[in-house]
């Protein structure tokens, strides 16, 4: 972090708005992507969470039904697709989550982790591509949801990982989120199988190593406005697969 107090003020405001819930859309995606590698920001968030949590005292508690606990217990005791996180041995999810910070130029180790997963998700391509492919794993804290592979400059392939069908009447839409501009749609992703996404009409420098990708939930057929309208559910960073 820089020592600039102006910067510090802006960071604290953004942390406050994140906690309040008014930081939305692409701003929230970028903020959450920065959190894993930014302890100062995490601390600001935690301090604001405590400051504002007094609001909750205005509410009379509503006793949850026992069935709710049973559902929670079932979910946490059934073997999860990925192991629970522990401080000593961070889970694959946690380590890959860290790789989200790559777009800000971080951590070669995290790159290695993402590439490793890329290798796990796709068997080595045969024949090998002539130029290095770009890959990204789009995920939420609970695990990966989509694998994106860009074997050549003009096309991306998007594959669902695991069972995450969009709710009925909704579609998943893929976006590339430039650092200082509005997200650009790459199109709607199919519920199953590989979705080919043509990249011909995009500015050439948009899809590159370090670019942030995001998947939002949209009305069936995709966003009616050309910008994300639903919650952003999964994010990931493109890295070169060598």
């Amino acid at each position: 972090m820089t020592g600039d107090h102006e910067t510090s003020t802006g960071r604290d405001q953004e942390a406050a708005e994140y906690v309040l819930g008014t930081l939305r859309g692409a701003d929230r995606v970028r903020f959450e992507a920065a959190l894993p590698s930014d302890a100062d920001l995490r601390r600001r968030v935690a301090v604001w969470e405590d400051r504002l949590s007094g609001f909750a005292d205005a509410l009379a508690p509503v006793t949850p039904p026992e069935a709710l606990w049973n559902r929670i217990e079932r979910e946490v005791t059934t073997p999860a697709p990925l192991p629970a996180t522990t401080p000593s041995t961070p889970s694959l999810t946690a380590r890959l989550w860290s790789s989200l910070a790559l777009w800000r130029g971080a951590a070669a180790l995290a790159t290695a982790a993402a590439c490793l997963l890329a290798v796990m998700v796709w068997n080595p391509p045969v024949p090998p591509p002539q130029e290095p492919a770009l890959v990204a794993v789009l995920q939420a804290p609970e695990g990966p949801a989509f694998a994106v592979r860009i074997p050549a400059a003009r096309r991306a392939n998007v594959t669902p990982v695991g069972e995450r069908p969009a709710p009925a009447g909704n579609s998943y839409e893929l976006w590339v989120v430039p650092p200082r501009a509005q997200p650009v749609s790459l199109g709607v992703i199919e519920r199953s199988g590989v979705t080919p996404v043509p990249l011909d009409r995009l500015p050439p420098d948009l899809v590159r190593p370090g670019a942030l990708l995001a998947v939002s939930l949209e009305p069936a057929g995709g966003s009616p406005t050309g910008a994300p309208t639903g919650p952003v559910l999964y994010t990931g960073t493109l890295v070169e697969a060598r």
Binding site: M1, H5, E6, T7, S8, T9, G10, Q13, E14, A16, E17, V19, L20, G21, T22, R43, R44, V45, A46, V47, E49, D50, R51, S53, G54, F55, A56, D57, A58, L59, A60, P61, V62, T63, P64, P65, L68, R71, I72, E75, V76, T77, A84, T85, T86, P87, P90, T93, A94, P141, P167, G169, P179, R180, L217, P219, T229, G230, P231, L233
Partner: protein
Amino acid sequence: MDAQWWPSYLRPERSIPWAGRARRNSEFPLVAKPTEAAEDGQADLIRRCADGDSRALRALYDHHGGLLLALALRMLGDRRLAEEVVQDTFVQVWRNAGRFDRAFGSARGWIIGILRHRALDMRDRERRSGGPPGTMEIGEAELAGAIEGIEPPAFEDRGALRGCLGELKEGPRRSITLAYMDGCSHQEIARHLDQPLGTVKSWILRGLSALRECLER
């Protein structure tokens, strides 16, 4: 960090009340903790979750479940959705327990933060798909209750928020309350209060700044 990275209304070149305040980026004035022993106990429960002890998750559920369900109901206005969000929250607490850092803040604040962002996502999703009737309507009575109805505080620091909210002008106070308690976006608050979007954004920034200053006194 690049100033342009921020949303336009947060850019520091704008005239904002926090600019030029004391430089304290290296000292975080922590909010006073509710009885240290109780907080230690809660943080220990999260650590035990990270170690795979589901009894610790049950203890957290017994302690916070009622409050979380009440908050989710308030934000979503629908029992089924609220229970779904509470369920999801405890699953996230379980899976992410290793990331909780007790040096930064309380267990309660951390868990409420998870719940509120889950509820915001659910709220967005339901709004896109039409949502069940009666959901997400904001009643003036409820809104007033959120401020005046705050019960005698269990801990000194939490009561402080009520006092500090009372020091805010009506616009910032209502805007921040709508955002926190009802999960409203800037646009929804502007519509609800019949104010320009820019006014609401500035009320929220100013109100948060004043709250921070008041709570640090």
